[in-house]
C-alpha cells in the first residue's frame, strides 16, 4: 500500500502571519489616523483661518482700544461735552434729591402703610362678602334682614389698626378706624403710590434726555468706536465659536459660506490688511456703502461676486476658479460685472464706475451698430412697444364700438323699458371707455412721433458726403481712421487697397449732390476764441497728444480743415438738423435728432468758427481719387459695404433696410465657453489659463483679428470685427460689462427694476449719456466734466464760467420751468443768441433738438434724482407788508449785503460784470424752500459755488443777516432769509429798478 502522500504544508500552521498582519494593521491604523486628520483638519481649512483671525483681530483690537480710548477722552474733555455733562450732572443731582425723597416716602411710608391697610381692609371685606353671599342664599326675609344688620355692625365696628407714618419717618400710630374710613385710606394710599412712581419716572426721563444728547454728541465727534464698543468686540472674539459661518437666503435657497474665512467683512471696525498681519482675506468690505444697500443677509455674497459659495475645502474651490465651476469669482478689476446682472436696465449705476464706463463705451463707440444688446436699442425697442400698445388699443376700441352699436340697436328694438334702459346705459359706458382709449392713444402718438425722430443710426449719414467732404480724403480715412484722427470712434477695418477704392466709389456715387448756400469767410481768430469759450470743448477735443484739450465724446477737430467743405461746416454749426436736398430727386439725408446741438450762434459767429476750423489742417498730401467716379468700382463696392456691415452705423443709399452683422451680445457672458470661438488657440488658452470669457473678450477687444492667428483663409473669410484701438482701461471696462451680460439665475425680485420714480432716473441717464450732458455739467457726485479739464478753466476767474452743477437741479427749479428751458434754453423766441438765465456765461447752453418725450424724460430725471414730483404747486407765500418791502429793499441796498454786486438786474452795462442770475426769474423758476436753504448755506448745495456762505447767522430759531443791519430793522422779529425770499418771489420789474436806482452804486 503506497504511503499516503504527505499533506501539503499548511501555511496557516507552519508560517507565521504576524508580519503581514502587523503591516496591514499599521497601514490601517495610519490610514485611519490620516483619515481623521483629513476630516477634522485638512479638509476644513477655515478652522485655521478662524483661529488666525481671532488671534490677529484680537491683537489689533487690543492696540485699537487705547487709541479709541484716547480719542474718546479728548471728546469728553471738549467744552461742549463738558457742558452737556454738567447739565446732566445738575439734572441728575436735582433728580436724585427728589428721588431719594420719593423713595423714602414710597418705600418706608406709603408702601408698608398701604400693605397693612390693605390686609386689614381685606379681612373685613371678606367677612362682609361672606355675609353678602349668605343674604343671597338666605330663604327668608327675616334671615336676610338679620344678615344685613350683621354687615352694618361689622362696618360700623371700630378696628384698632397700627399704621406707620406716611412720610417715611417710621413713626407708628395706632388708631381705631371704621370700615369706610379704612377703605378710603387704602384707595388714597394706592393712588399716592402710583403718582409718586410716575413723578420718579419723569425725573429720570429729563436726565435721560440730556444723557441722550451727550451720547449723540460723543458719537458725532468720535471717529470710530468708543472704548466700550471696542471692548464689546474684544469680548466677541474671546467667545468666538469656530464653526461654518453661513448665509442662507430662504427665498432662493442660496447658500454662501464665504464668511467662514472672510471674517472681517462686516466688522464695525475698518480692517486693513496691515492691521491683521497682511492677511488680505480678513479685511473689511472695501465699500461699506454698498453693503448698506445690499445687506449680505438678504443678498448673499456669491450672488454678486460669483464663485462657489458652498465650497469650504479650499480657496480655489470657494472662489470657483477651476474649470469645473461655471461661475468663477470675478477678478478684482471686473468685479462690477456682478452689478450688471441685476442692473441690466441701466447705463449708469451708482458706485459702479468701471461698469458704467463699459456701458458708455458700448453706447458711444457704437458697438450696438453691429451687435444687438437689449436695452441699447432703446428707441427702436420702445417704438416697437409703443406701436404694439397702439394696435392693442385700436383693437379694443373697435371692439368697443361694435358692442356699442349693437347695444344701441338692441335698445332701439327692445319693448321693455327697463331692458332698453340697461342697453342704452351699456352703450354710454362703452362710449366713455372709448373716449378714454382715445386719450391714451393720442399720448402714444406723441411718443411714436418722438421715437421715430429719435431713432437714428450711430454714425454720420453718408448720403451727405459729397456736400460735406473733400473727395480725396475718403479713401485715406478708410485706410485707417486712427492714423488721421487718433481716438476716433470709427474703427479700423482691415481693408485691402482695392476694397477701399470700391467702397469709396460706391459711397461717393450714391451721395446727394446738393447745392449748399455759399458763405463769405469769417474771422478765424474770433472763431478760435468762440470755439474755446462757447462750450464746444465739452464734447470735442482739439490738439494731439499731451496738447489735447476738451472732451472725448465727439470728434477731435485738429485736422478737420483737411476733410471739410467750408459751406457745409457753416450749415452744420448753424443748425445740425439742417439738410440739403438732392436737386433732382429732392431726397434729403435725415439726421434724425442729431447728437450735435445748436449753440445758437449768430451767423457771423458761425462763419468765424467755421473759418477757424478750416485752418485746422496739416499739409499732408492727398492722392487724386478718380476711381471714385468709376461705376464698375461702385458696383463691386456695394457687396463689400454689405459684407463689412457699414450700414449698421451709417445711412447708405440702397442699404436702408440692412440688418446688423454681429452676434447679439445681450447674454454673451452666459454663453458656454465652448461656444466662444478660440479657433486654433484653445489649447494655448487652456495651458496659459485664459480659456474663459474674460480671456476671450480681452484678447478679442485688443485685437479683433486675434483668433485668425494660424489660419489660412481667404481675405473675405477672415474675421470682420474692426479694431477700435481701445486702451487697456477701456478693454477692462468693456470686458466687465460683457462678463456681466448674463442670463442671471437669481430670482426676479433681486433685479433692480423699479416702477416708481427711480425708473425715471434709470431712463434719464440714457439721454444724459447719449447727449453727453456730463461734458459740461456735473450731474453725479464726483463727476468731472470735460470743460473742467480744459486749461482755460483752471484760472480762478474762469472757474466761475463753468456751466452750473446739476446735482440737485430738481430741488432747485420748478418742473414746468425746466420743461420750457430744455425746449428753448434762450427762454425767448426772438432774442436767441444768448443764454436764457445765465447770460453772463461765455459757454452757452445749447438747443438740443429734443423730442417732446426726451424733454419730459429729462425733466422727470432731474426731479426724481432730487426726490421731487413733476407736479409742483407753489406754496402760498405770506404777502409782504409795506414795511417789510421797505426793510427788504433797504437790506438789499445796504453796503453789507453784496447781492446786487453779482446778480443780474437787467441793466446791460451792469450785467456785463454779473456772475449770477436775475432775481426777477426767481418766482417762475425757483422753489421757495430751496431758495431759502440756498441763501443760508449755498456750499452745501453746490460745493465751490461763487455764492458765499455765512451771509446769515442763527439767532434763536430764526436766521438773521450776519452783517450790520439798517436801523429800521430794530424790532423786526421775523426771519431775515425768509423775508428776502418773499421779497425776491414778489419782485416786480418796477421794484427791481427802484432797488437798483437806490443802491449804493
Amino acid at each position: 500500500m503506497p504511503k499516503p502522500a504527505a499533506p501539503d504544508i499548511d501555511p496557516v500552521v507552519t508560517k507565521s502571519l504576524s508580519v503581514p498582519l502587523l503591516v496591514s494593521t499599521l497601514i490601517l491604523t495610519l490610514t485611519l489616523v490620516w483619515g481623521i486628520y483629513d476630516e477634522v483638519y485638512a479638509m476644513r481649512p477655515w478652522k485655521r483661518f478662524q483661529a488666525d483671525f481671532v488671534e490677529l483681530y484680537s491683537s489689533h483690537l487690543a492696540k485699537l482700544k487705547p487709541e479709541q480710548a484716547a480719542k474718546e477722552k479728548a471728546v469728553k474733555e471738549s467744552a461742549e461735552y463738558q457742558d452737556l455733562q454738567q447739565q446732566l450732572e445738575a439734572a441728575e443731582a436735582e433728580a436724585r434729591q427728589r428721588m431719594e425723597e420719593i423713595d423714602k416716602v414710597v418705600n418706608r411710608g406709603v408702601t408698608p402703610r398701604l400693605l397693612t391697610a390693605r390686609q386689614t381692609f381685606q379681612v373685613i371685606k371678606s367677612e362682609v362678602d361672606a355675609l353678602t353671599y349668605q343674604i343671597e342664599v338666605a330663604s327668608s326675609d327675616s334671615a336676610k334682614q338679620s344678615l344685613r344688620d350683621d354687615i352694618a355692625a361689622i362696618k360700623d365696628r371700630d378696628v384698632e389698626i397700627t399704621l406707620v407714618a406716611e412720610d417715611g419717618s417710621g413713626e407708628i400710630t395706632t388708631a381705631p378706624m371704621k370700615f369706610a374710613v379704612l377703605e378710603a385710606e387704602y384707595l388714597r394710599l394706592q393712588n399716592k403710590r402710583v403718582e409718586m412712581q410716575a413723578e420718579r419716572a419723569k425725573l429720570l426721563e429729563s436726565a435721560g434726555q440730556i444723557r441722550a444728547k451727550r451720547d449723540a454728541y460723543q458719537a458725532n465727534q468720535l471717529a470710530g468706536l468708543n472704548e466700550q464698543q471696542v471692548d464689546g468686540l474684544i469680548a466677541k472674539m474671546d467667545n468666538f465659536g469656530v464653526d461654518i459661518k453661513q448665509i442662507h437666503l430662504n427665498d432662493s435657497d442660496w447658500v454662501d459660506r464665504c464668511e467662514s474665512c472672510h471674517l472681517g467683512i462686516r466688522e464695525p471696525v475698518e480692517i486693513k490688511a496691515e492691521d491683521v498681519g497682511g492677511r488680505a482675506e480678513f479685511i473689511s468690505h472695501p465699500s461699506p456703502d454698498l453693503l448698506k444697500i445690499h445687506n449680505p443677509d438678504e443678498f448673499g455674497c456669491s450672488t454678486c461676486h460669483n464663485g462657489n459659495g458652498r465650497a469650504t475645502r479650499s480657496a480655489v474651490k470657494g472662489h470657483g476658479r477651476h474649470k469645473f465651476w461655471l461661475w468663477p469669482m470675478w477678478q478684482k478689476e471686473n468685479v462690477q460685472a456682478g452689478c450688471q446682472q441685476c442692473h441690466a436696465r441701466e447705463v449708469i449705476t451708482e458706485q459702479a464706475n468701471v461698469l458704467n464706463k463699459g456701458r458708455t463705451l458700448f453706447l458711444n463707440k457704437g458697438c450696438w451698430g453691429c451687435h444687438r444688446f437689449e436695452g441699447f436699442d432703446k428707441e427702436s425697442d420702445d417704438l416697437a412697444q409703443v406701436q404694439q400698445h397702439m394696435s392693442i388699443i385700436a383693437d379694443q376700441k373697435s371692439a368697443n364700438e361694435k358692442e356699442r352699436r349693437e347695444s344701441i340697436a338692441a335698445g332701439d328694438t327692445e319693448q321693455d323699458t327697463d331692458k332698453a334702459d340697461a342697453l342704452y346705459k351699456r352703450a354710454e359706458l362703452l362710449t366713455l371707455r372709448s373716449a378714454k382709449l382715445d386719450a391714451e392713444y393720442d399720448a402714444l402718438v406723441v411718443d411714436e412721433v418722438s421715437l421715430v425722430q429719435e431713432a437714428r443710426k450711430f454714425g454720420p449719414n453718408l448720403k451727405e458726403i459729397k456736400v460735406k467732404l473733400r473727395k480725396e480724403w475718403v479713401p485715406v480715412w478708410l485706410k485707417n481712421p486712427h492714423d488721421f484722427r487718433p481716438g476716433t470712434k470709427m474703427p479700423e477695418f482691415r481693408l485691402l487697397d482695392d476694397e477701399i477704392q470700391k467702397i469709396s466709389a460706391y459711397l461717393w456715387q450714391n451721395a446727394i449732390d446738393g447745392k449748399l448756400q455759399a458763405h463769405p469767410q469769417g474771422d478765424a481768430a474770433k472763431g478760435e476764441e468762440l470755439f474755446g469759450t462757447r462750450g464746444c470743448l465739452g464734447c470735442h477735443s482739439m490738439g494731439e497728444g499731451d496738447d489735447t484739450q476738451g472732451g472725448t465724446f465727439s470728434a477731435n477737430l485738429t485736422r478737420v480743415g483737411e476733410k471739410s467743405n467750408y459751406d457745409y461746416l457753416v450749415r452744420w454749426i448753424n443748425n445740425p438738423a439742417d439738410v440739403t436736398p438732392d436737386p433732382e430727386t429732392g431726397e434729403t439725408a435725415s439726421h434724425g435728432i442729431p447728437v450735435m446741438p445748436s449753440l445758437r450762434l449768430s451767423m457771423p459767429e458761425v462763419r468765424d468758427v467755421a473759418s477757424y476750423l478750416m485752418t485746422k489742417k496739416t499739409d499732408a498730401p492727398y492722392a487724386a481719387a478718380d476711381f471714385m467716379d468709376d461705376p464698375q468700382m461702385a458696383k463691386e463696392g456695394l457687396t463689400l459695404i454689405r459684407h463689412y456691415g457699414c450700414a449698421g452705423c451709417h445711412e447708405i443709399r440702397g442699404l436702408e433696410e440692412e440688418g446688423r452683422i454681429g452676434t447679439e451680445l445681450t447674454l454673451e457672458g452666459s454663453k458656454p465657453v465652448e461656444r466662444l470661438d478660440f479657433a486654433l488657440l484653445g489649447h494655448e488658452a487652456e495651458a496659459e489659463g485664459w480659456y474663459n470669457h474674460k480671456g476671450f473678450f480681452e484678447r478679442k477687444l485688443k485685437d479683433p483679428a486675434f483668433y485668425d492667428q494660424g489660419k489660412v483663409k481667404a481675405h473675405l473669410e477672415q474675421l470682420r470685427m474692426p479694431n477700435f484701438h481701445l486702451s487697456d482701461d477701456d478693454i477692462t471696462a468693456l470686458t466687465t460689462f460683457l462678463l456681466g451680460a448674463v442670463d442671471t439665475t437669481l430670482p426676479e425680485h433681486y433685479r433692480y427694476q423699479p416702477e416708481d420714480d427711480r425708473r425715471f432716473v434709470q431712463e434719464g441717464w440714457w439721454i444724459v449719456r447719449r447727449y453727453n450732458c456730463v461734458g459740461c455739467h456735473q450731474i453725479s457726485f464726483g463727476g468731472r466734466t470735460s470743460l473742467m479739464g480744459v486749461p482755460l478753466y483752471q484760472d480762478p476767474d474762469w472757474k466761475e464760467q463753468l456751466p452750473p452743477q446739476l446735482y440737485t437741479q430738481g430741488a432747485r427749479v420748478q418742473p414746468d420751468w425746466l420743461l420750457g428751458f430744455l425746449e428753448n434754453p434762450a427762454l425767448s423766441e426772438t432774442d436767441i443768441h444768448r443764454n436764457g438765465i445765465r447770460t453772463y456765461l461765455h459757454a452757452r447752453m445749447p438747443t438740443f433738438n429734443f423730442s417732446e418725450r426726451q424733454i419730459l424724460k429729462l425733466s422727470q430725471f432731474f426731479m426724481a434724482r432730487s426726490s421731487q414730483s413733476m407736479t409742483y404747486v407753489a406754496p402760498d407765500m405770506e404777502p409782504l407788508t409795506a414795511t417789510e418791502q421797505q426793510l427788504a429793499r433797504q437790506l438789499f441796498q445796504s453796503r453789507a449785503a453784496p447781492c446786487l454786486k453779482c446778480h443780474m438786474t437787467g441793466n446791460p452795462a451792469r450785467d456785463l460784470r454779473a456772475t449770477a442770475p436775475n432775481f426777477l426769474t426767481a418766482s417762475s423758476r425757483l422753489k421757495a424752500d430751496w431758495t431759502y436753504r440756498w441763501m443760508l448755506e449755498p456750499a452745501k448745495i453746490a460745493p465751490g459755488t461763487a455764492m458765499p456762505s455765512e451771509l446769515f447767522r442763527q439767532d434763536g430759531d430764526r436766521w438773521v443777516f450776519s452783517g450790520p443791519l439798517p436801523a429800521s430793522f430794530s424790532g423786526y422779529e421775523k426771519d431775515h432769509a425768509d423775508l428776502l425770499v418773499r421779497y425776491m418771489f414778489q419782485l416786480t420789474p418796477a421794484e427791481l429798478s427802484r432797488l437798483v436806482a437806490g443802491g449804493v452804486q
Partner: protein, 264 residues
C-alpha cells in the same frame, strides 16, 4: 455621505504615503503667519529741532529779465466804498518789479529736508483793505493759523480755490469777526479771491516746514534757520511760472543765491 465617497481615496493615499513617505514630517503648514509686527509707528510727535548756533541761512534775489509789463489800473467803479479809499486807482499786482527785481515771488525749500518741523502757532494775517488783499502773496505752515480780516466798509467773501485742500467760501462783513483757518496739507500758491470784487486776488502757500519767504520790493528774500544740507530752492510766481536752483549749506553757513524769471 461625503466621508464614504472619499474612503477609497484615503486608503489609496494612505497606502502610497506609507510606501513612499518615510520621514518627511508633513507637520504644520505655514498657517501661522509671522507675528504681526508689533513695533510702534515711527514717533510722530518727534519734530526736528535745529540748533540756533548751527542754523544756516539762504538769502537771495529774485530777478526779472526783460521789461515788466505795465500793470493796468484796477477799475473799482463798481465799489465806490473802496474807490474812495484810494487816491488814484491802484494798479493790479500781477507782475510787480522795479530795477529788474521781482516782488511777490514765493520762495521755498522744495526738497532736501528730512523729518517734520513744528508748526508755528503765530497767526499769519491777511487783510482786505481798499478792496485789495494785503499782502498779495503770503505763506503759512501746515497747521499754522491764518487770520483773515476785513478792514473795508463793504462786505467781502473769502474764497480760496485749492486743489488738494478743502475749498470754502465765506462772506465777511466790513469789520466783521476775523475768519481763522488752518490748512491741513501742503499746497503752493492757492488762489484766494473775492467773488464780489473780481479784481481781488491773493495767493496763499501752505508748506509743511518753516523754510519759505516772499520776495520783497527789491526782490530780496531770506530763509533762516536751516539745518545743514543740500536743498532745492524754488521760486514760484503767479504769472511767470517757477524757477529752481540747488544750494548746499553747512552748519551756520550763509549762502546767497539768485533766481531769474523771464518777463516774456
Amino acid at each position: 455621505m461625503r466621508i464614504w465617497k472619499t474612503v477609497p481615496g484615503w486608503m489609496m493615499v494612505g497606502l502610497m504615503s506609507f510606501a513612499l513617505a518615510c520621514g518627511g514630517g508633513g507637520g504644520e503648514k505655514g498657517g501661522d503667519a509671522a507675528e504681526p509686527a508689533g513695533g510702534e509707528a515711527a514717533g510722530s510727535a518727534d519734530f526736528v529741532t535745529v540748533d540756533p548756533a548751527k542754523a544756516a541761512t539762504v538769502t537771495g534775489k529774485i530777478k526779472l529779465n526783460g521789461e515788466a509789463p505795465a500793470m493796468p489800473a484796477i477799475n473799482m467803479s463798481a465799489e465806490p466804498d473802496c474807490k474812495g479809499l484810494h487816491q488814484s486807482a491802484p494798479p493790479a499786482e500781477v507782475v510787480v518789479a522795479s530795477n529788474g527785481m521781482l516782488q511777490n515771488a514765493f520762495v521755498w525749500v522744495k526738497s532736501g529736508l528730512n523729518g517734520k518741523f513744528q508748526p508755528s502757532t503765530t497767526a499769519v494775517h491777511l487783510d482786505q483793505k481798499g478792496c485789495i488783499y494785503q499782502p498779495h502773496v503770503l505763506a503759512v505752515q501746515v497747521g499754522q493759523p491764518l487770520s483773515i480780516t476785513n478792514s473795508d466798509p463793504t462786505t467781502h467773501n473769502v474764497h480760496p480755490l485749492p486743489t488738494t485742500n478743502r475749498e470754502w467760501n465765506k462772506s465777511q462783513t466790513g469789520g466783521g469777526a476775523p475768519i481763522d483757518y488752518q490748512f491741513p496739507r501742503q499746497e503752493i500758491m492757492i488762489p484766494v479771491k473775492c467773488n464780489i470784487h473780481p479784481w481781488m486776488r491773493s495767493y496763499v502757500s501752505v508748506v509743511d516746514h518753516p523754510f519759505f519767504a516772499v520776495s520783497s520790493a527789491d526782490g530780496s528774500f531770506t530763509i533762516k534757520g536751516l539745518p545743514a544740507g543740500t536743498y532745492t530752492i524754488e521760486a514760484v510766481h503767479e504769472k511767470l511760472g517757477s524757477q529752481e536752483t540747488s544750494v548746499t549749506v553747512g552748519d551756520a553757513e550763509s549762502k546767497d543765491i539768485e533766481l531769474t524769471f523771464s518777463a516774456s
